[in-house]
């Protein structure tokens, strides 16, 4: 009995330990840019983001002149450390844990003494967000020592564009799909089966198939770069899954509701609006979250259909452009990437239950 208790404990430790390790591995990448987005441009460039955690660091405690009569070409003995000039340039660690460094050249130099001390207070700032959101300027030191003023970026506009694209591109396909799902589930008409087979067949068709022909249509219709163009595209690509999921749900609703409503003289349209839509809220919410995250995070569709219009650009396009043009401006990139994640993360954490339910309802999307 006792040994089985010990076995259980060991098993518990192994399970929880492995899990914790995996969670850590999965979280660290995001944590890295989250922390970095609050660090100054200079700090990001010169030290790893993990240095914001309390750690021991060499800190300057004393600066001395070179003692009189030191011969830099021989072995020297300064401040308790012994070594040649080259060794002093590298820094010599004394027995009491101090580091003695020769700073400067042989003729003109100083001795710096450093000690390992705890660094508790990281230097954090909100400036990155100001620069990336509202286009605030910032100064950088160029290689020859001059300062240069650089314009930040305008993510606020891109954020609004992303919202303007995502909200209708979520609601419109749901509305259209809900009507269709009701039609397929509870109405009779010629071609019903054939149409639904089309829906099922289109579930896995990759959207790449449509990009070139649709772009041609859009150019002909002068639609390129409008919000409508991208809503319709997302509607088209999201419809098979939406119709399929909602059909499965609506079909499962009790049939007597429909029949008793009919006896009361309600029309299909009224039944759909008053009865079916409210009853389908869980399924609608599941798909809404799915579609919202998909549209908000989409890059390819936006790139193809609004690529040419800079003032309609969405978040993902701005970030990708920033990666391309200012790939080492990590203070802007990290803050920008984090801004683009805020909304999906809020949606995700507050509605996780619905999202999971949506995923479980079967999701093979093209």
């Amino acid at each position: 009995m006792k040994s089985s208790k010990r076995e259980n404990l060991i098993r518990d430790i192994i399970i929880n330990g492995t899990l914790l390790l995996l969670v850590l591995l999965w979280t660290i990448p995001t944590l890295g840019i989250f922390i970095s987005s609050f660090r100054t441009r200079f700090n990001i460039q010169t030290s790893g983001w993990w240095t914001v955690f309390p750690h021991k660091e060499w800190q300057l405690v004393e600066e001395l002149d070179i003692p009189e009569g030191t011969d830099p070409d021989g072995v020297m003995n300064i401040a308790g450390a012994t070594g040649t000039f080259d060794e002093f340039r590298e820094g010599i660690i004394t027995e009491d844990g101090r580091q003695v460094i020769w700073s400067g050249n042989k003729a003109l130099g100083t001795i710096r003494i450093k000690e390992k001390r705890w660094d508790f207070l990281p230097e954090l700032t909100l400036n990155n967000y100001g620069q990336v959101l509202a286009g605030k300027t910032y100064e950088i030191q160029t290689a020859d020592g001059d300062t240069m003023t650089v314009q930040g970026d305008n993510f606020l506009g891109a954020f609004l564009n992303s919202l303007t694209v995502s909200i209708p591109a979520t609601i419109i396909p749901i509305l259209i799909a809900a009507f269709a799902a009701y039609g397929f589930a509870w109405m009779n008409f010629p071609g019903r089966k054939l149409f639904f087979i089309t829906v099922v067949a289109l579930l896995v068709v990759p959207l790449q198939i449509a990009l070139v022909p649709i772009l041609r249509d859009y150019v002909k219709l002068d639609l390129n770069g409008t919000f409508l163009a991208i809503w319709l595209a997302h509607t088209g690509f999201g419809l098979p899954l939406a119709t399929y999921l909602l059909f499965n749900y609506i079909k499962g609703l009790p049939r007597d509701i429909l029949e008793s409503a009919f006896i009361d003289g309600a029309s299909h349209f009224t039944i759909f609006l008053r009865l079916i839509l409210p009853l389908s809220v869980p399924a609608l919410a599941s798909f809404a979250i799915f579609q919202f995250l998909w549209v908000w995070n989409d890059y390819l569709v936006a790139l193809v259909f609004i690529g040419a219009k800079p003032d309609v650009q969405v978040m993902t396009m701005r970030i990708a452009a920033l990666v391309g043009s200012r790939g080492s401006d990590w203070h802007l990139l990290t803050a920008g990437a984090f801004i683009s994640m805020i909304l999906p993360l809020i949606v995700f954490f507050s509605l996780q239950r619905y999202f999971v339910r949506g995923l479980l309802a079967g999701s093979v999307k093209g």
Binding site: V23, P29, I33, P213, W296, M341
Partner: protein
């Protein structure tokens, strides 16, 4: 008397006409077309307008969502004015028509159009037979793309499934199950572009001697090695560093589905095995895996299809340089950078052909269900 007769006659004939198949089809097409024209004019007006951004955004959202809802209402109102017999015939097409019209416009017809385009030259003017396909299969960059995509699928999809299963099983026996699952699932909410930034930062490289700000190089250098540009050198293994991102994102998806499947395994089954003296490992391989095999296949298929079309990660991380092109990035490059439409269409058709087995499987499943 005579006039009245004619009028009744013409009314019925109009109704008759509306009720005919042709009429049904026309109503189904007219509704979306009218919606479309109204919204289209509105949007060109909005695009070319100069109002403040916030106003444009608000108006666009209300216009878009409201417009679609309004079209349904108005058309339904019209249909319900008709004699009941016609209402009954027409109404299903109001419900199903718009969805079908959009599906045909955006997916079904483009498949045919792209196929025709794939038989034409780069401008889409003249037929060149199967030349594009021949080019696709002999082009060196394209072969690399095929190889890479295979690597993505073999390594990326399978490790996502393995990790997903591992986490699901560990979490099921852990005290902080919900926390662990949320954290592993979190990357699902992030865009692939955002994930690209996150991992670019991990892979960031500084010259030897300088402080490494990328986590991977910091560890690598601390172990006494030279800093590496992970995504650029050592081809084709640099692809693995991109594939890690996919695994990071898709494990959460696999985990959620597996987690639900595992909870569906009857407890008695596992208890009985325990009583019979089965070890945990035996329970895992002999009971759990066979029990959730169907789920494993579904999840694997979904992730494979997703991986087949992988684009954003590669495009943001390397732009396809350093031998990292995949099928979808080649498609994009040919279609929009090189403007070689015929070639791009052939690539897209190959993508579709790759999913045809899944499509057939889905249709079979659907045919077997008796519910329809």
């Amino acid at each position: 008397m005579d006039g009245q007769k004619t009028r009744t006659f013409s009314l019925t004939s109009i109704a008759e006409w509306f009720g005919s198949t042709l009429g049904q089809i026309i109503v189904a097409i007219v509704v979306p077309v009218v919606t479309f024209i109204v919204m289209w004019r509105g949007f060109i007006f909005l695009r070319d307008g100069d109002a403040p951004k916030l106003i444009i955004a608000l108006v666009a959202i209300i216009w878009g969502v409201g417009g679609v809802a309004l079209i349904y209402f108005v058309t339904n109102w019209l249909i319900e004015r008709l004699p009941p017999r016609w209402t009954e015939r027409l109404q299903p097409f109001l419900f199903v028509g718009p969805a079908m019209a959009i599906l045909f416009w955006y997916l079904a017809i483009p498949t045919i159009r792209t196929f025709i385009l794939s038989l034409k030259d780069r401008t889409g003017q003249e037929f060149v037979g199967l030349q594009n396909y021949a080019a696709v299969f002999t082009d060196r960059l394209m072969t690399i793309a095929f190889r890479n995509n295979l690597l993505w699928i073999v390594v990326g999809a399978s490790l996502s499934v393995v990790f997903g299963l591992l986490v699901a099983i560990l979490a099921d026996r852990s005290r902080f199950e919900n926390f662990a699952k949320s954290m592993i699932f979190l990357p699902m909410a992030i865009s692939m572009v955002g994930a690209g930034v996150i991992w670019n930062f991990i892979y960031e490289v500084k010259e030897a001697g300088a402080a490494q700000i990328g986590l991977l190089n910091a560890i690598w250098v601390a172990l006494g090695n030279e800093p590496q540009a992970w995504t650029a050198f050592n081809q084709p293994w640099n692809n693995l560093f991109l594939i890690v991102i996919l695994i990071w994102m898709q494990t959460g998806f696999a985990m959620v589905i597996f987690s639900a499947a595992i909870k569906g395994i009857p407890n008695e089954l596992i208890e009985a095995a325990r009583v019979d003296g089965a070890t945990e490992v035996q329970i895992f391989f002999r009971i759990m895996i066979p029990y959730i095999m169907g789920t494993i296949i579904t999840v694997s298929t979904t992730i494979v299809i997703f991986t087949l079309k992988i684009f954003d990660i590669v495009w943001v991380m390397t732009g396809g340089q350093f031998g990292t092109h995949v099928i979808a990035t080649q498609f994009y490059r040919q279609a929009f950078t090189n403007q070689n439409k015929g070639y791009a269409a052939a690539v897209a058709i190959i993508l579709v052909l790759a999913v045809v087995p899944v499509m057939i499987y889905n249709l079979r499943q659907f045919a077997e269900e008796e519910a329809f």
